[in-house]
């Protein structure tokens, strides 16, 4: 069986469980993102796959072979660390060739392979530079090249771009995605940034409190969240606890639109772009503007309805900016509502 398979993986630090019931199957060549808030266990899971942490229970198999008890240095895994962890005493090419030299590869062969990677990550001409003399993006690419030089069966990345500024991060995300496609190496990428996960992943694994909350394609995760947590964590969402009577959905005892085939009581997730400001109160609910901000092409408005807050977005320049404190009506487009499983 090819690919990476995690079966019933569990792990605890002392008496505190940090990973529970992790079951995951990753196909060869896939790009998987572990997504979650800090402390959800995503980095621990990655380090467990790498072999830096022991399992309390379960099995990790890579291409059919169990990794239990195999030390990290015998796993043939490439990894990019959060701090990058470049060897400060080696120059660029020696950093990249480190794993090859450990594997006993001859000098000429080693240097040829390292050159190949230097070209691949666009660092030609920097071979003899000290790593401390490189820019953030260059260091990043050395770390990636070093991890890939050993032709790993598995490529792991632990929030490698979190310290970079937004523009550089986007460029590197694009590059790493293209590189991964080209090399076809199975990749697991840890991030807390859902946009990054959306950009990179074939498959996103949302984690929470040491367990897997949902596994799916970026579109699955975004459009068909399986829990309230995922709905709220990935992008912005309005969570509506509704009742259904005679084909009409009611929220906070007010009718908000025609219901689909929903049970009498259920929970909906509705993206902010599917709410509309209105002056006609019979159209939906009325509330008061509590916060407004302009996000480039979009205006985001938060509206207090009773004790609850809804988020609404609209394209800029389609309507005047509302003032904080102003009363406003909100209409719902329930055709885009997603019913959360109970």
């Amino acid at each position: 069986m090819r690919g990476l398979i995690l079966k019933d993986v569990a792990k605890s630090f002392g008496t505190v469980p940090v990973l529970q019931n992790i079951n995951l199957s990753i196909q060869t060549g896939a790009f998987v993102c572990l997504l979650g808030a800090s402390g959800c266990g995503k980095t621990t899971l990655l380090r467990t796959i790498a072999g830096f942490e022991d399992l309390a229970a379960g099995d990790i198999r890579l291409d059919g072979q169990s990794l239990n008890g195999v030390p990290p240095y015998q796993r043939n895994i490439g990894m990019v660390f959060q701090s990058l962890a470049l060897f400060p005493h080696l120059n660029v090419i020696d950093n990249i060739a480190y794993g090859l030299s450990i594997r006993g590869m001859g000098r000429a062969q080693r240097s040829a392979r390292a050159q190949e990677l230097i070209a691949l990550v666009d660092l030609t001409g920097m071979e003899r530079r000290r790593v401390s003399a490189l820019s953030g993006g260059q260091k990043q690419r050395v770390a990636i090249a070093r991890a890939l030089a050993i032709e790993p069966s598995l490529f792991l990345m632990d929030e490698p771009f979190s310290a970079l500024d937004a523009g550089l991060r986007e460029r590197l995300q694009k590059q790493i995605k293209q590189l991964q496609r080209r090399l076809g190496v199975t990749t697991v990428f840890v991030t807390h940034d859902q946009q990054e996960a959306m950009t990179l992943a074939d498959q996103i694994v949302v984690m929470r409190g040491g367990t897997i909350e949902q596994v799916g394609s970026p579109s699955d995760i975004y459009h068909r969240p399986q829990s309230r947590y995922v709905a709220e964590f990935v992008g912005q969402n309005n969570i509506l606890d509704i009742t259904v009577k005679d084909g009409t959905a009611y929220w906070q005892q007010q009718p908000i639109g025609p219901a689909k085939a929903w049970p009498a009581q259920t929970t909906l997730a509705l993206r902010p772009e599917h709410l509309r400001q209105t002056t006609n109160p019979s159209d939906g609910v009325s509330g008061r503007v509590s916060f407004v901000r302009q996000l480039g092409s979009v205006i985001e408005t938060q509206v207090e309805v009773g004790a609850l807050t809804l988020i609404q977005t609209q394209l800029a320049n389609t309507a005047p900016l509302p003032d904080v404190g102003e009363p406003v009506g909100l209409a719902f487009d329930l055709t885009h509502a997603w019913e959360l499983p109970a």
Partner: protein, 286 residues
């Protein structure tokens, strides 16, 4: 589900090598000295295994009392002077440029490493009639009848200061140079006068560090041998000199060992007492 085999960490074995070395060549000699202190003196060999307390009993004589007292007074005085001078030096040096700081660190490190014997010899020359201060004073016609300034208590104390200065300053340097300078500025902003600022803010900030330096120096000065013998007279000799005399010059190892044990115990008690006082004080402050 397959069995989980945790990779056993055998790294602790690394710690056994330094442990073994230290136990064999540091702890064992200390323990053996403790044993020798109850042995019988044997002029033919070094000592004969026995269990006698004579060696300890000999300590309870006015001679050893006065020597002990003198050792403590000298060590305490030296430690006090050096801690104070060292503290001001470090305080001022830490505000100097990196270049000057490097000069001071190298100067202090050199002194730290330099042999007691060489330091004592340098002071010997400084205080000698033929080439040092007395000669200078005579040349300036300030002293009609110059003679050497050693052996004397003052010369010996100068030796203590020069010897301990590097230890005190290098101990205090990290804390003082990394102090949060904003605290002093804040106090100044609140209207504290400079003199008061030092007493009320700067000094209390470093009380523990100063105490640690004082204790270290105190213990170190109790064990000083070269300064009293080269720069002081017999009336300045401390316990260390007496121990050396009994153990090496008079071949009475058991007596030397017993005296050393007593000294070790007294040192430990004093250090513990000072630490305890400091903790009491801190508890009161809190």
């Amino acid at each position: 589900m397959s069995a989980v085999t945790a990779t056993k960490d055998r790294g602790w074995i690394i710690a056994l090598i330094p442990l073994g070395t230290l136990v064999l060549f540091f702890v064992a000699p200390m323990a053996y000295m403790a044993a020798v202190s109850v042995f019988k003196n044997d002029p033919a060999a070094f000592f004969k295994p026995a269990f006698v307390l004579d060696n300890y009993a000999k300590f309870f004589a006015p001679f050893y009392y006065s020597i002990s007292l003198r050792s403590f007074v000298q060590a305490g005085l030296g430690a006090g002077i050096v801690t104070l001078l060292g503290f001001f030096t470090v305080l001022f040096v830490s505000d100097q440029s990196r270049w000057l700081q490097r000069f001071w660190v190298i100067l202090l490190l050199s002194l730290l490493c330099l042999s007691e014997v060489v330091i004592a010899f340098a002071l010997l020359i400084l205080f000698s009639q033929s080439s040092g201060i007395p000669k200078l004073l005579a040349w300036l016609t300030l002293w009609d009848n110059p003679r050497s300034l050693y052996p004397s208590f003052g010369a010996m104390m100068a030796g203590y200061v020069m010897l301990g200065f590097s230890i005190a300053t290098l101990m205090l340097f990290p804390q003082v140079s990394r102090r949060d300078r904003a605290i002093e500025e804040a106090a100044q902003g609140l209207g504290t006068a400079p003199a008061l600022l030092f007493l009320r803010v700067t000094l209390p900030m470093f009380r523990t560090a100063l105490l640690a330096a004082f204790i270290t120096l105190f213990v170190y000065f109790l064990g000083v041998f070269v300064m009293p013998t080269m720069l002081g007279g017999p009336q300045n000799w401390n316990m260390t000199v007496i121990i050396q005399d009994r153990a090496v010059e008079r071949f009475n190892m058991p007596l030397g060992a017993a005296l050393a044990m007593i000294m070790l115990a007294l040192t430990a008690v004093l250090a513990a007492l000072l630490l305890w006082l400091n903790r009491q004080q801190r508890a009161e402050d809190a």
